[in-house]
C-alpha cells in the first residue's frame, strides 16, 4: 500500500469512528420518537430501551475490561471487542490510538488544525521525553488499585474521559446556552424574533429542550479544555504522557509484528519524520524506534521524501527501545495504587457507615462491588431522562468521586424508567426490567418529612403535592386529617402527609416536586436501598 493511501485510510477511519462516537453519545438518551401502540401497552408501558449500541466504545476499551475483570472478578458480556483490540495491538501496534480512539482523534485535530509549534520548536517537542513515563505510572496505579478492589480507571481512561466531558459539560453547556437564547427570542416583543424562536426545532434533536445541570460539570469542562490545550505544548500531549490506555496498549505493542524499518543510507536527516510524528516515537534514523510510543499514524512513512522509512512484517533486526517505564514511575504508581484504595476506604462508607446522601441508581450493585466496576463514564447520567443522576462530588467520598448519585433537586427517578441499568457498560448498575423494578420493588432510598418546613405540618396551609406525585400503588405517602395551629393561633383542619416506609422506594419525585424550595420539606436519603443489607430501616 502506498503511504498516501494509508494516511487517507487512517483519516477516514478516525473521522468515521469520531462521528460514530458522537452519534452514539447523543443517542444515549430516551429515544426521541418513541411511539407505543397503546392498545398493546399494558401496565406502565413496558421497557423503553435505546436501540443503538451506545456501549460500543466502552466495550472496545481493554482498560475498562481489564480493570473490571481484576477488581470485581467478573466476566462482563460484550467485551469481546476489547480482546480484539488487544490482539490487534499485538499484531499491528497501537492502531487503536491512531485509527479508532475518538479522544486521540480530537487531540490529533487540535494539534493539526491549530498547531502552535513550528520548525525547531516542533522538532524539539516531538522528541521523546522522560515525561512519557507518567502514563506508565498512572497505568500501574490503576491496575494495582483495581487489584485491591477500587476501580479508578474511569478518571483517566480516554473513552470515559471524553464521554464524560462531552456528555456532562460540552453538550449541556451549549444546550443551556441555546435554550436560553431561544427563550430570549420567544419572550421578545418583536415579532421577527418571536418567529425566529421556532428555529429551536433545529437544535433540539441534539440538545433537547430542557435545561440540564450536572454538579461539578464546570470541573469536568475545565479539565477537558485544559487537556485539549496541552496539545499546544506538545502534539497529542495526552496520548503521549497521560493516557493509561495508551500505556497499556504500548506495553502490548512492544511485541507488535509490524515494525518500522529505517534505511540509514537513504536518510538525509531532514527531520521531517520527527516533525510529523504524533507519538514522539523517534522514527528518524540514528535513534532507536519506540514501538510502545508509536501511535500508528504512519505520518513518518508518508512524509519521508527519501523513502527511507517503511513498515514491514519482516524481522528487521534493528534495535528497538522497550517501553521506558522507569523504576521510579512504576514504584510511584505502585505506591499510589496501594494507598488510594486504602485511603478511599478510610471514610468507612464501604464497611461501616452508609452515607445518606449517596443514592445510587436503581439496580446498582452493593457499594464495594460498585466501586470495583463503575467507570465514572457518565453514560447513566447522560441517559437519565430526568437529569437525576449526577456525578458525585463529596457524596461518595474520595473513592467514589464522579460515580453516579441521584440528586433529587435536579431530577427524580422515574417510576417507569429502567434506562440507566440498560446502558451501564460494566453492569455496575444492573439491567432491570420494569416488572422487576416495580414488583420487587427495587428501592434506592426512603423519604422523610421535615415537619418544620412542611406546609401543613407547620401550620402554613394545605398542600399534598408529595402525596399527589407518589407513584406507587398504594401510595407510600398517605394523608390523615387533623387540626394544626396556624400563624395567628387559629386552629386549621388540614391533611397531614406521612411516609409509609414499607411502600416507599425512594424515587424522590416528592422531593423534586415539593413546593418548599431551597431545602424541600420531604427529602430522600439512601436508607432502605435494596442493594445494601446494612443500610435498612425496617425489620
Amino acid at each position: 500500500m502506498k503511504p498516501k493511501h494509508l494516511i487517507w485510510l487512517r483519516r477516514t477511519s478516525q473521522a468515521v469512528f469520531l462521528c460514530l462516537f458522537l452519534f452514539l453519545l447523543i443517542e444515549s438518551r430516551l429515544p426521541q420518537d418513541i411511539v407505543i401502540d397503546y392498545t398493546s401497552a399494558m401496565g406502565n408501558g413496558g421497557d423503553i430501551r435505546i436501540e443503538h449500541p451506545v456501549t460500543f466504545f466502552f466495550q472496545l476499551d481493554p482498560l475498562i475490561w481489564l480493570t473490571s475483570l481484576i477488581s470485581d472478578r467478573i466476566w462482563i458480556q460484550g467485551f469481546g471487542w476489547a480482546v480484539a483490540v488487544l490482539v490487534a495491538t499485538l499484531l499491528l501496534g497501537r492502531v487503536f490510538c491512531g485509527f479508532i480512539c475518538p479522544f486521540g482523534t480530537l487531540h490529533h485535530m487540535v494539534g493539526y488544525l491549530k498547531s502552535s509549534l513550528k520548525g525547531k520548536r516542533l522538532f524539539q517537542a516531538n522528541r521523546a521525553t522522560p515525561s512519557q513515563k507518567i502514563k506508565y505510572a498512572l497505568l500501574t496505579s490503576i491496575l494495582v488499585s483495581s487489584l485491591l478492589g477500587l476501580n479508578i480507571a474511569g478518571w483517566m481512561d480516554p473513552i470515559s474521559f471524553v464521554f464524560r466531558s462531552i456528555a456532562l459539560a460540552v453538550i449541556p453547556g451549549l444546550g443551556n446556552g441555546l435554550t436560553d437564547f431561544f427563550g430570549m427570542l420567544a419572550r421578545s416583543d418583536i415579532k421577527f424574533f418571536n418567529l425566529m424562536s421556532y428555529s429551536e426545532v433545529l437544535v433540539w434533536p441534539v440538545f433537547g429542550f430542557e435545561f440540564k445541570s450536572y454538579q461539578t460539570g464546570w470541573a469536568i469542562g475545565i479539565l477537558f479544555l485544559v487537556v485539549l490545550f496541552l496539545n499546544r505544548i506538545r502534539p497529542r500531549f495526552w496520548c503521549r504522557t497521560l493516557c493509561p490506555l495508551g500505556a497499556l496498549l504500548g506495553v502490548f505493542s512492544t511485541f507488535s509484528r509490524l515494525r518500522l524499518r529505517k534505511d540509514a543510507a537513504k536518510c538525509t536527516q531532514c527531520k521531517k519524520c520527527v516533525m510529523a510524528c504524533q507519538g514522539a516515537a523517534e522514527p528518524m534514523a540514528g535513534h532507536a524506534w519506540r514501538p510502545a510510543e508509536c501511535l500508528s499514524c504512519f505520518n513518518c512513512f508518508d512524509t519521508c521524501p527519501e523513502g527511507a522509512i517503511e513498515f514491514t512484517f519482516q524481522r528487521t533486526g534493528e534495535k528497538i527501545k522497550r517501553p521506558d517505564m522507569g523504576r521510579r514511575a512504576v514504584l510511584g504508581g505502585l505506591a499510589a495504587g496501594v494507598s488510594l484504595p486504602i485511603l478511599g476506604n478510610l471514610d468507612g462508607h464501604v464497611h461501616k457507615v452508609s452515607r445518606p446522601a449517596l443514592i445510587r441508581p436503581p439496580g446498582a450493585v452493593p457499594e464495594d462491588a460498585f466501586l470495583g466496576r463503575c467507570q465514572r463514564c457518565g453514560l447513566c447520567m447522560k441517559a437519565c431522562p430526568t437529569n437525576a443522576i449526577n456525578p458525585a462530588w463529596t457524596e461518595a467520598g474520595l473513592a467514589g468521586f464522579w460515580t453516579p448519585t441521584l440528586t433529587m433537586t435536579h431530577g427524580y427517578c422515574e417510576h417507569t424508567c429502567t434506562l440507566c441499568g440498560s446502558v451501564c457498560p460494566t453492569d455496575a448498575i444492573q439491567a432491570l426490567s420494569l416488572r422487576e423494578k416495580i414488583q420487587t420493588p427495587v428501592r434506592i432510598g426512603s423519604a422523610h418529612f421535615d415537619r418544620g418546613r412542611c406546609l401543613p405540618w407547620s401550620g402554613n396551609g394545605p398542600c399534598i403535592v408529595c402525596e399527589e406525585h407518589c407513584p406507587t400503588s398504594p401510595k407510600a405517602i398517605y394523608l390523615f386529617e387533623d387540626w394544626v395551629e396556624g400563624p395567628g393561633g387559629e386552629r386549621r383542619k388540614v391533611k397531614l402527609p406521612q411516609v409509609d416506609l414499607t411502600q416507599c422506594t425512594g424515587c424522590g419525585i416528592c422531593e423534586n416536586k415539593c413546593p418548599v424550595r431551597g431545602k424541600p420539606a420531604i427529602r430522600v436519603i439512601s436508607a432502605g436501598e435494596t442493594r445494601s443489607r446494612r443500610n435498612q430501616i425496617m425489620l
Partner: protein
C-alpha cells in the same frame, strides 16, 4: 492580506446589522393579547351524557354520538380553525390505568375536528412526568402520528407571563400554544385527587401553566377557579370511560380503576364538572372548586341547564 476582516470588525458589522434588523422589525410589532373567551349563556348551554351500555362498545362511536347529540362538531369548529386540544396526559401511565385521557377519545375528537375542517390541531399539555415518556406511554404520541396532529413539546420558550386577573393569581406563566388557537377543547379525565377531591375539567388547566405550579395547592380551589376564568374552552369533554377511584391522581394499579363507560360533553365547564362529580357520588356543592366556579359565574350546575341530552349506545 489587508482585506481580511478582523474579528473585531466582523463583530462590529454583525452588531450594526442586527441593530438595523431589530429596528426595522419594530415596525411590525404586534402585541398579542389572549384570545377573548368563547363564553356561553344559560340558554345556549347544553350537556350531553353519553353512556356505553352494550358490552364491547366502541369508544370512538360513543365520542361521535356525543358530538352528534350536541349538534355536530361543525357547530364548534369552523373551517380553517387552529384548534388546541388539552388532554390530560401528564402522567406516564398506560391508558387502562385511568390516569390520563383515553387515546381513543383523543383520536376521535381529533378526527371530528379534521372532518369539521380544522386547519391545524395542536395537542397541548405541560406534563408532570417527562413529556417524551408521557407522550409514548399514554398513547398520545401514537394518536398524533396516526392523525397528523401536532404534539407540542412543553418547553421554557413556550411559557410566557400573562395576566390571569384572578383572585389569587395575577401574573403567571402560561403555556402559550393553549391560548394561541382559535378554538380550545378541554379533554380531561375524571379521577380522584387527594386535595381537591376530584380532578376534572377545570383542574385540567393546571397543566396549561408553567412556573411554580405546585404552590397552587395551597389554595387549590380558588386557583383552579382563577385558571378556569382565564382558559375558556369552546367545549369540555370529560373522559369517564374508566375512572380512577383511589390512589389518585397518579394511580398505578388496575385495582384503582373502575370502568364507567361514560363521556360528558358540555359547553359549560362548570356543568360538565358538576355532572362528572356525580359519577363519584358527590354533589357539586361538595367540591370546592365547582361551588366557587358557580359563585364567580364561570358557569352553571348541570341541573340548571335546559338542554340536556342523553346518548346510549
Amino acid at each position: 492580506m489587508d482585506n481580511f476582516i478582523t474579528r473585531r470588525e466582523s463583530i462590529k458589522k454583525l452588531l450594526r446589522l442586527s441593530t438595523g434588523l431589530a429596528l426595522s422589525s419594530c415596525a411590525a410589532v404586534n402585541f398579542q393579547t389572549p384570545r377573548p373567551a368563547v363564553a356561553d349563556d344559560a340558554e345556549s348551554a347544553f350537556i350531553v351524557d353519553a353512556k356505553g351500555q352494550t358490552s364491547g362498545y366502541d369508544i370512538k362511536t360513543l365520542t361521535r354520538s356525543a358530538f352528534e347529540a350536541a349538534g355536530g362538531m361543525h357547530r364548534f369548529i369552523a373551517k380553517g380553525d387552529v384548534v388546541a386540544i388539552k388532554p390530560n396526559i401528564s402522567w406516564a401511565r398506560a391508558p387502562e390505568l385511568a390516569a390520563t385521557t383515553h387515546p381513543e377519545v383523543l383520536k376521535a375528537v381529533i378526527e371530528l375536528c379534521q372532518e369539521a375542517g380544522a386547519k391545524t390541531i395542536n395537542i397541548v399539555d405541560h406534563t408532570i412526568h417527562g413529556a417524551r415518556r408521557c407522550f409514548a406511554v399514554t398513547g398520545a404520541g401514537s394518536v398524533a402520528k396516526e392523525t397528523g396532529a401536532n404534539l407540542i413539546f412543553p418547553r421554557s420558550s413556550l411559557m410566557r407571563d400573562m395576566r390571569l386577573q384572578g383572585q389569587r393569581l395575577d401574573i403567571w406563566p402560561v403555556f402559550t400554544p393553549v391560548v394561541e388557537a382559535d378554538k380550545l377543547i378541554n379533554l380531561p379525565v375524571a379521577k380522584v385527587h387527594g386535595l381537591s377531591e376530584l380532578t376534572l375539567g377545570m383542574k385540567n388547566w393546571i397543566g396549561a401553566v408553567g412556573g411554580r405550579r405546585y404552590a397552587l395547592h395551597q389554595d387549590i380551589h380558588q386557583t383552579i377557579v382563577d385558571l378556569a376564568q382565564f382558559f375558556k374552552p369552546t367545549i369540555t369533554l370529560i373522559d369517564a370511560t374508566r375512572v380512577m377511584v383511589k390512589n389518585g391522581p397518579s394511580g398505578g394499579s388496575l385495582s384503582d380503576v373502575t370502568v364507567m363507560n361514560r363521556l360528558i360533553l358540555s359547553n359549560d365547564p362548570v356543568a360538565a364538572d358538576a355532572r362528572a362529580a356525580g359519577l363519584f357520588g358527590y354533589s357539586p356543592n361538595d367540591i370546592g372548586f365547582i361551588r366557587l366556579a358557580r359563585k364567580w359565574q364561570i358557569g352553571l350546575y348541570d341541573t340548571d341547564i335546559s338542554q340536556q341530552h342523553e346518548v346510549l349506545i
